[in-house]
Symmetry: C2
Subunit: 412 residues, 2 copies
């Protein structure tokens, strides 16, 4: 007898579906392809020797603590360090406000598990981080997109959306945001807009999930104060990550938030996976406390800034002028907008792959259609030389596409 | 304005509650206490030097692969190794049947997320592993206990329960079991009973979640064939773990199961935490493939066998004869049953703590009451000397308790 899995799966399993983008990764991440698709950090920057040294020291000095289960809340010293870090960044956090998670994605998953009922609208940026929307929809939440411009989220439209939902009898409880060097657009929400959003959150009783994996990778000026530092009520759940500023392979991130939320997250994490890996927690803690990671982030900033500059300069030089792209002040991504006269970005990607270059077309970042003529370009992984070569090849392609589109328009 | 978290939490959050036992850990795990409470592996056995050596080698030979994100399914080489291991143990697994998870607890969480609708009955052993019941109830499942005796789960009562539920219009989809050296009882389900349970699973269309953290820690004879090796339909989801046979601090386990289930688990894991930590996966893979861990498990067996023998001998010597205890063939636990004339085990624990000895009283392992006169004793962490001292102190206590109970009965 064969097993009818579809009938056995729980109702909630219907909400758990793969992301469009991942399906393309098998095409975009081949070795012969110059890829601007994946948003991984550059592995050439991983401090391998430092990691070997510290792990050996940790195991020699405290084998038990380094390799045994940890409390579900996480390693006390790491939580203490992170509370201090949050304080230095303007948020009055104590150890009790911090829980360690398996990367900020787990943080997002646990928060959505606790807050979102099936069918509830959840405010997100439009476009939005795909993994964020995935966590929301996997618990039955309905992402409702609020558009962005180069100053970030647009609070006037947010308020209109809240009013409209209220008229329909719906009260969203959550706004999910990547306010610094947003994935996929690279935009940063301005301080002025953050203040308005904070006020809207107060008036409409919204919890803000502030996902900040890229904030430290700031290539010019400073990032505005975080939502959690502007908050006086405990309505911000902040997600921090070591994946972009150190390494992803330890899967260590943290949540900072109000004690009642953190305590409930701790209960949820007990059944989710008991605790995060202690080796990674100790490693992150040691390198953070000794100041190594602050110096490492400074090196990363110089490194990624050169890549960003190279990509923007190449786009300026090689792309037809009607193709627009964002000028991110940090992070990994620039957002490219093609004219409506061009074929959809999905088709452009197929043509680009023939020339051994890849990016991510835009639709996956939109909850309800849209993004057909947009694309995310990541400059984090390709070498400076590949950035120039890849963007040049695409520039040639786009000029051909433009000419063809022009001819078709003339004949049409 | 203070935030009304109870109103903000989703309905499912009501099901997420802490375990009774964890509340006691703050009492039982103080340094001055001889603790038979926690079920952790003995950290003196952690192969620290070996781990340092291998991590240094891995980072030197492939820094990128060791420290970058891995695919959600897990490291290919580790999955290949584990498929081979499952094959050697009689289950026809390929790589496509294996997914790596953050310890078997995450495996349990993801499977429950996919299979259990709120309000559905889920068959469990009685008593049952607390973390297993926690995962089930956190998704709204209702544990329905099937009693055990020294031969393990009792299939005749399982069938009666299934028939009774069917009459009530309920069809459980899942049976969760720790068939080898069960937590908390130490019992192992016999081959004969496994075959009957397998047949019941076929007839009643049950998925068996076979959680096997202790099977390799076998101190005499052999464990019976696993459910997954008896299965020809793909209705067993097997949970394997490195936590007890290697170290818990890397949080690496695996699920072996039918392809449609593994594929859906992979989608759920994408939003749950993207992937498990690559450092731990590579470490487990390397030490498994080079045969180190097989030799390590042999050493652990000798080590834990001596502890088990010491605890059983001390109980034999010091406990009043009317106190019964199980004689586990492996694992970490023995299950102690006090006469009804004694005070409840919860009260005995309070008295034991005054004498600086701890164990876990039984109620937390029962879904619907029961277990008041039972307790779980773990021999995994205490030293041989502490085992003798601790059981002797408890023996003295139990003789006093017995005398007092006898006097009260005479006066009553």
């Amino acid at each position: 007898m064969s097993i009818g899995w579809q009938e056995l799966f729980a109702r909630r399993a219907r909400c758990i579906t793969g992301s469009q983008i991942r399906q393309y990764f098998s095409l975009t991440e081949k070795p012969e392809i110059i890829s601007f698709a994946g948003g991984f950090p550059e592995s050439r920057c991983f401090p391998g020797e430092e990691i070997s040294r510290v792990i050996t020291d940790l195991i020699t000095s405290d084998c038990r603590g380094t390799l045994q289960y940890t409390p579900t809340e996480g390693n006390w010293d790491l939580r203490t360090y992170l509370a201090g870090k949050m304080q230095r960044e303007g948020s009055p956090c104590g150890v009790e406000n911090i829980i360690i998670v398996d990367g900020s994605q787990q943080g997002l998953d646990l928060i959505c598990r606790l807050l979102i009922n099936p069918g509830e609208p959840v405010l997100v940026e439009e476009p939005a981080y795909i993994g964020g929307m995935g966590a929301i929809t996997s618990y039955g939440g309905i992402p409702v997109g609020i558009p962005m411009d180069s100053q970030g989220i647009m609070p006037d439209i947010m308020e209109k959306t809240l009013l409209k939902l209220r008229k329909q009898g719906q009260s969203p409880k959550v706004f999910y945001t990547v306010a610094n060097f947003h994935n996929p657009t690279g935009y940063t929400t301005s301080l002025e807009r953050r203040k308005i959003v904070m006020e809207l959150a107060r008036r409409y009783n919204l919890i803000i999930i502030e996902d900040n994996p890229y904030g430290e990778l700031c290539y010019e000026g400073e990032v505005p104060p975080s939502y959690i530092s502007l908050d006086r009520e405990g309505r911000v759940a902040y997600l921090g990550s070591y994946s972009k500023t150190f390494i992803p392979g330890i899967r260590i991130g943290w949540i900072a938030g109000a004690v009642p939320l953190i305590e409930k997250i701790c209960l949820a994490k007990q059944t989710a996976d008991l605790c995060s890996n202690s080796l990674g927690q100790r490693l992150a803690c040691h390198l953070s406390r000794e100041g190594y990671l602050d110096r490492h982030v400074k090196r990363l900033i110089g490194y990624y800034r050169r890549k960003r500059d190279a990509m923007l300069a190449a786009m300026e030089q090689y792309f037809p002028p009607e193709i627009k792209f964002s000028r991110p002040g940090g992070g990994f991504f620039t957002w490219v907008t093609f004219p409506r006269s061009y074929p959809p970005a999905r088709e452009l990607l197929m043509l680009a792959l023939e020339r051994k270059v890849a990016f991510v077309h835009g639709e996956g970042f939109f909850s309800n259609g849209g993004g057909t003529h947009c694309a995310r370009f990541s400059f984090s992984q390709a070498s400076l030389e590949d950035i120039d070569t890849g963007i040049r090849r695409l520039g040639e392609l786009f000029y051909e596409v433009r000419d063809q589109a022009g001819r078709q328009a003339a004949h049409g």
